[in-house]
């Protein structure tokens, strides 16, 4: 028999994953800086240097990337991660993003982008990423 605490814990992990998926959809698919406050804690802490810490700076960044947003958004995430892992208050996503091969014209190599999020009180409070500022992955054409 599964202990009740484990069931409740499992449900919380699924809620945390859902929060991250909704963050991707409502902010980046929808190109909507105003939606950030529903997902990020005010003192959101960033562990990557190509994105800022804090909610106001993130809002400014999303506005700069999507000056024509927001736009209508589908009910499902456009490019969902291929793999999600949740434990405690952490959620890790890995997304398959093949990259142009430098050695072959029109060739591509397999590439995964990783993000790790820490959740507190229903908001994302910390973020780590595999992306390096000096060699960011190229978006699909």
């Amino acid at each position: 028999m599964v202990p009740w605490g484990a069931v409740r814990g499992k449900r919380q992990l699924e809620k945390n994953k859902q929060l991250v998926l909704e963050f991707f959809r409502r902010v980046f698919d929808a190109q909507d800086a105003d939606a950030l406050k529903e997902f990020l804690a005010p003192d959101y802490r960033q562990h990557v240097r190509h994105m800022p810490s804090g909610l106001p700076a993130m809002e400014a960044m999303v506005r700069a990337i999507f000056p024509h947003g927001p736009r209508d958004v589908s009910a499902t995430l456009g490019s969902p991660p291929d793999l999600m892992i949740a434990e405690g208050d952490m959620v890790v996503t890995a997304a398959y993003r093949p990259q142009p091969d430098p050695d072959f014209v029109d060739g591509a190599f397999d590439f995964f982008v990783f993000d790790a999020f820490k959740i507190k009180d229903g908001r994302i409070i910390e973020h780590w990423s595999s992306i390096k500022k000096d060699s960011p992955p190229k978006p699909p054409k």
């Binding site: 949740a86 434990e87 405690g88 190599f109 590439f111 995964f112 990783f114």
Partner: protein, 168 residues
């Protein structure tokens, strides 16, 4: 859930390294491995421990300068025969990873980076590694801190699959 240890602190499963010496000693610190692999979920704790043991064994192999002699033994102990690699920088299988250690890891300066967080669910374990702070080449400051995030899949006590963010 906030534990204080000598040179580091673990809060909700994520380590903050206070003493830089830990970057060159973490693989000898059982208290570090124990603190980082704790979990309320028994299966998750076992999977995290397996990955931590693998990272420690690799770090010992690299730091002792015995990659050539020892890497096949370490990989043979931890990896399943059909190990699948999803990292463009590393060829598939146990042989591909052994080749990467013999030809690439052998030239890395410094020490193997410490895992600072292990996140486990249903046979998948994600590892967050922190590169040691290094002086920046041009700025009069430390380089931005770099994290590596990677995922392993475990089956029957062996590593069967890996996703990594390397570039060829």
């Amino acid at each position: 859930m906030n534990q204080q240890h000598a040179g580091f602190r673990v809060e909700n499963g994520i380590a903050s390294i206070a003493d830089p010496i830990l970057y060159s000693t973490w693989w000898e610190r059982e208290d570090y491995a124990t603190a980082l692999t704790a979990s309320g979920n028994t299966a998750a704790a076992l999977d995290k421990r397996l990955i931590m043991d693998f990272e420690v064994a690799l770090a010992r192999t690299v730091s002792s300068g015995r990659i050539e002699q020892d890497i096949d033994g370490v990989l043979g102990k931890f990896l399943a025969p059909g190990y699948r690699q999803h990292d463009p920088a590393i060829a598939n299988g146990r042989e591909g990873l052994a080749h990467w250690f013999r030809t690439v890891a052998v030239h890395f300066p410094g020490y193997p980076p410490p895992p600072i967080g292990l996140i486990a669910e249903a046979g998948l374990v994600s590892v967050l590694l922190s590169m040691p702070p290094a002086p920046h080449q041009s700025l009069q400051t430390l380089s931005p801190q770099i994290f590596i995030c990677t995922v392993f899949r475990i089956h029957d006590g062996r590593l069967v699959e890996h996703w990594g963010g390397g570039k060829p």
